[in-house]
């Protein structure tokens, strides 16, 4: 199924479905022409994808686009539908309805699978075979020259244990062998499902560095994760999934929104007076008042000047009890979007 010119309008954005406490995502829905190899081409197109298990809708009219060459974070809590979506993209699960296209081909077809390296959940290999022999088997499966095995094992730093049985590997080594298997075909598209699961902090850092490196080689990486820090560190763009639907999409900066200043003054009346005093301060875009606190947001293209704000308030005779910068962490955004609770002012 060839890709056609498509605008990325199918996935719901924050503008379309406002969430409390979250600013609209900007710059994520720009039209993208889906030329198979050209700039801006789409590696993955998903439109209205749905998977129903009896009365449970695991994936609900999900739409998203992943551009070629980007590292796309697929962020969502456990059970949100991430793995089900990946399994549908790989042809392991038949969708109930919807449309998918990977690198211009239908999911699950041999032509498509030849171009995708994947690791879904915990990597599965034959426990009685060594890491090397497991990759040898997969190389024969995919028609890849066995000479690549050494290279991919070295890439994930598993060369020294390559001849040990898989069952003797630690969880981290199993994860790395999973990545090695995904790289065996030298695929232009990688799908990694929670690749740092069970790794110690050093292992997680190594894995993220590896993914970043793979992404910088021009590969497209779809990284599924429930770890905000991981997505924040590694991904160019993020799609947040909750209850089977994309609830927000954009760069990490887009999702976090603009930086703001928090000013605490003496009571609501003073806060209202302070808002009036700040009405014409250059760079100030909006002032929200909640009890004794003002939240001041600036224009996107100019930084807020805390000193200027403080000066104006003092000139207006308003005592400033506290003044600090405030920017929502991705975790706040994530919890807000996925219904996991909201924490303000962190």
């Amino acid at each position: 199924m060839a890709s056609t010119a498509t605008t990325a309008t199918a996935a719901p954005t924050i503008e379309q479905r406002p969430q409390p406490g979250v600013r609209p995502v900007r710059g994520t829905r720009r039209p993208v022409t889906a030329r198979p190899d050209g700039p801006g081409a789409l590696a993955i197109e998903i439109e209205s994808l749905t998977k129903q298990y009896g009365s449970v809708r695991a994936v609900d009219a999900l739409s998203l686009n992943v551009r070629q060459g980007e590292i796309y974070g697929f962020l969502g809590p456990n059970g949100a539908g991430k793995t089900t979506t990946l399994r549908m993209l790989l042809g392991l699960i038949e969708p109930t309805s919807g449309h998918m296209s990977l690198l211009g081909s239908a999911p699950g077809s041999p032509e498509t699978l030849a171009k995708i390296g994947s690791m879904i959940e915990t990597p599965a290999f034959y426990p009685f075979l060594s890491g090397h022999d497991n990759l040898r088997l997969l190389a024969d499966y995919t028609g890849v020259n066995r000479s690549r095995i050494g290279a991919v094992l070295a890439q994930v730093d598993l060369g020294s244990r390559a001849n040990d049985p898989f069952r003797t590997y630690s969880l981290g080594m199993k994860q790395r062998l999973g990545v090695a298997a995904a790289l065996l075909k030298d695929p232009p598209l990688l799908m990694l499902d929670e690749p740092t699961n069970g790794l110690d902090p050093a292992g997680m850092a190594d894995m993220r560095q590896l993914i970043r490196r793979l992404g910088s080689d021009g590969r497209t990486v779809l990284l599924s994760s429930h770890l905000m820090t991981e997505v924040e560190q590694v991904c160019d763009r993020v799609g947040v999934i909750a209850k089977g639907r994309i609830v927000a999409e954009g760069t990490v900066d887009d999702l976090r929104g603009d930086e703001a200043l928090l000013v605490r003054v003496e009571g609501l009346a003073t806060a209202r007076a302070a808002r009036a005093a700040l009405a014409f301060v250059p760079g100030v875009n909006g002032v929200d008042v909640a009890v004794d606190t003002l939240r001041i947001t600036g224009h996107r293209d100019s930084a807020l000047d805390a000193a200027e704000v403080n000066k104006r308030l003092v000139e207006a005779g308003i005592a400033v009890h506290e003044l600090r910068t405030d920017r929502r962490s991705l975790e706040d955004i994530f919890l807000t979007l996925t219904g996991g609770g909201v924490r303000h002012g962190d």
Binding site: R87, L90, G91, L92, I93, E94, G108, S109, P110, L113, A114, I116, S118, I120, E121, T122, P123, A124, F125, Y126, P127, F128, L129, D133, R136, L137, L138, D140, Y141, T142, G143, A181, K185
Partner: protein, 280 residues
């Protein structure tokens, strides 16, 4: 395309070669078939038991075809059923389907390669059983100063083919049970009970019901033994001892057709299950 399939087949043969279970089942099969076909009967014969005294000739090389084939529809079938179950069911247990089916080949090609590899592995199962039987029978002939005569070449080839068909049907029964139950334990349990007990019980029960007589003729056991009997020259079969079968028999042609139909049915059913099901 053919090169791709050869790569797949190579991978599957490599896997079966590396699996301990393949070698364990082969070893058990060779030991069991030699002991049941030659060991116990000879010990019994030497100890003066009347049970095997009349069947001394069946322990000599001239009776190799019938003696070796008689074990195949019984314990041979049960053992390769386990091989069939493990070849598919273990993939569920280890979560390997998601790894294998996200490489490049489609599900049909993967299944085809797995079944072809399993079919190839059954060849040494049959051939080595005959080699073991030949060695045992020659040993007995030498010990008893009996003449050593061998079955004809054509008879041996037919026996090897018949043995392969019988074992292939049982292995494919294991495959479909594993595919249906998505595992190994239940599949082996159901398969063994079916092979060792259920068919016998069904046969005994419905043989008294005229309208259901035809059912006996389509049971795996009846057709396996009927093929053995036809290949062995329609002579008398062992009516006692482990796995003994006393009929009713169908013709050799009917047995081949029925067993071939079972093989096709089990494989097609397994393929459909793999093709249509989600891999969760």
């Amino acid at each position: 395309m053919a090169t791709d399939f050869l790569g797949l087949l190579k991978a599957e043969l490599f896997l079966l070669r590396k699996r301990t279970s393949t070698w364990s089942i082969l070893s058990i099969w060779l030991v069991v078939t030699t002991i049941f076909a030659y060991g116990f009967p000879y010990i019994s014969y030497r100890s003066g038991s009347s049970q095997f005294a009349e069947s001394f000739d069946s322990m000599l090389p001239g009776a190799l075809v019938q003696t070796m084939l008689e074990g195949m529809p019984f314990y041979g079938g049960s053992l390769v059923l386990i091989l069939g179950v493990l070849s598919i069911g273990s993939e569920f247990g280890w979560g390997m389907w998601k790894t294998l089916l996200t490489q490049r080949p489609g599900r049909s090609a993967v299944f085809g390669a797995k079944m072809t590899a399993l079919g190839i592995v059954l060849v040494p199962f049959v051939a080595l059983a005959f080699v073991a039987g030949a060695m045992a029978s020659v040993t007995i002939a030498l010990l008893e100063d009996a003449a050593i005569t061998w079955p004809g070449g054509q008879s041996l080839v037919e026996a090897l083919m018949a043995g392969w068909l019988i074992l292939a049907v049982w292995a494919s029964l294991g495959v479909i049970l594993a595919m249906a139950t998505r595992g190994t334990a239940l599949a082996i349990g159901v398969g063994i009970i079916w092979g060792l007990a259920f068919e016998g019980i069904v046969s005994a029960f419905i043989s008294g019901i005229g309208a259901l007589d035809w059912l006996v003729d389509v049971l795996l056991r009846a057709n396996g033994y009927s093929l053995v009997r036809a290949i062995s020259g329609n002579g008398p079969m062992s009516a006692d001892g482990p796995g003994a079968f006393s009929g009713p028999y169908v013709s050799g042609v009917q047995a081949v057709i029925t067993l071939g139909a079972y093989l096709a049915l089990f494989l097609a059913g397994s393929w459909l299950l793999l093709k249509r099901r989600d891999v969760a």
